[in-house]
Symmetry: C2
Subunit: 222 residues, 2 copies
DNA sequence: TTTGGATAAATTATAGATAATTATTATTTT
DNA sequence: AAAATAATAATTATCTATAATTTATCCAAA
């Protein structure tokens, strides 16, 4: 494990800001003011600016020279774009990971699925879901691919938190189980297309807001 | 066109350093010393550090906290990884771009192919090749996808420049022509797999070095 | 008199330069 | 060979300049 002193203040700030953006604590369009953030973390603005560059690269922030940095906005079009990129890249990763998957790994992935089904809030569901995907894909041994997928996961999670902020319902993840069954059989040709569709799935579901009215919210689940 | 004052010193530095890394002017493993670079550009090291963060995100540089930044190294394994990621993402982009491709765009792509065939050095070939891919993919209208592909192109180009530094032979790009023919017919189902194989193609070819001896070099062409 | 718009001053924030600190690496000494 | 010290370079803080935004003031037209 990397000790706290192993990384720079900049990377710590970028991680924390990324988490706030993903979970919706920071709304799209919110100005990120460098000296406010610097003050919050008890540093100067220099590491804050470095953190901004990373957030920019991750697509979580948008920077206009001399005009500052804002939390990136997103729309349904981008949700779809990210979902399709994830589908393409996760299938690639799975094909390379499959030969290296052990029963132990698949058991852990099953545990993650159960944990997801039993989650009582979005945050823990997201965490379990991410664990599932990470477990079955990491053995591909392609670091660049995994890093790209990880960034896309963060983007997906943003949409998830934004859509399902208020309520949460318990669901059973049939896709995860189907994927695991195929993988246990060594049947990648069937596992891959299930994963592809699973990641691309974007649902539309009525959400009841505070005033009791319902509105349509889009949700990405995978 | 963006005027020079429209972007920051940091982005200018990152662009120039990226070009040097890609073209092989800076060898893998080379230390990037922030105050040397700052001196060269007549700035302080603050914008240099921001440029480093961007290069890091692009996979062109590797940073170790408190130990500095180096030009990222790469091996055949990574070449293959990048090629496969490109294949997956470019196919996705092409499928979305296809309905928006006009005869005018395809003519421009044909010109780019001719320019590539007539190139007398690696640099101009790479530029023409990139233009071809950009032309047929941009109409997909998926900015995040295009940005990811662009970064992967840079990585590919690095390998290209590294393998074919000394000599250059004129070739005719049959793949590009086949893709164009299919696209003119509106036949995406055939165009896509050609593009997929084209991008993934990694050749092995003997290269004569300064001392006259030959060694095997890997080349990625697409 | 009020409203609308333009212009100028003041404030605020970003970008960059300089300076200080801290960690790492190389060298020397025991 | 190990420890101590010096040199080197990265990281962060402080400070300055410049650009952008807001606010205030003024004039013109209704």
């Amino acid at each position: 494990m990397t000790s706290a002193s192993e990384d720079t203040i900049a990377s710590r700030i970028s991680r924390i800001l990324a988490d706030r953006i993903v979970t919706g604590q920071l709304d799209p369009g919110t100005k990120l003011r460098q000296d406010h953030i610097a003050e919050e973390f008890g540093t100067s603005h220099v590491p804050v600016r470095e953190a901004f560059r990373r957030l920019e690269a991750q697509g979580l922030a948008v920077s206009e020279p001399r005009r500052g940095v804002r939390v990136a906005s997103f729309d349904l079009k981008e949700v779809r774009e990210v979902a399709q990129m994830r589908a393409a890249l996760e299938v690639l990763a799975l094909r390379h990971a499959a030969p290296h998957l052990t029963p132990a790994i698949l058991d852990q992935a099953e545990e993650a699925t159960v944990a997801g089904d039993n989650s009582r809030d979005v945050r823990s569901w997201e965490e379990a879901n991410r664990r599932f995907h990470t477990l079955i894909l990491t053995p591909c041994g392609m670091p660049r691919l995994l890093a790209a997928i990880s960034d896309l996961h963060a983007a997906s999670a943003r949409f998830l938190f934004a859509s399902w902020r208020s309520e949460w319902e318990v669901r059973t993840d049939h896709d995860h189980r189907a994927i695991l069954t195929f993988l246990r059989q060594g049947n990648i040709e069937n596992a891959a297309p299930v994963l592809e569709r699973h990641v691309q799935w974007i649902g539309q579901k009525p959400v009841r807001n505070a005033s009791g009215a319902t509105r349509d919210a889009f949700a990405i689940v995978g």
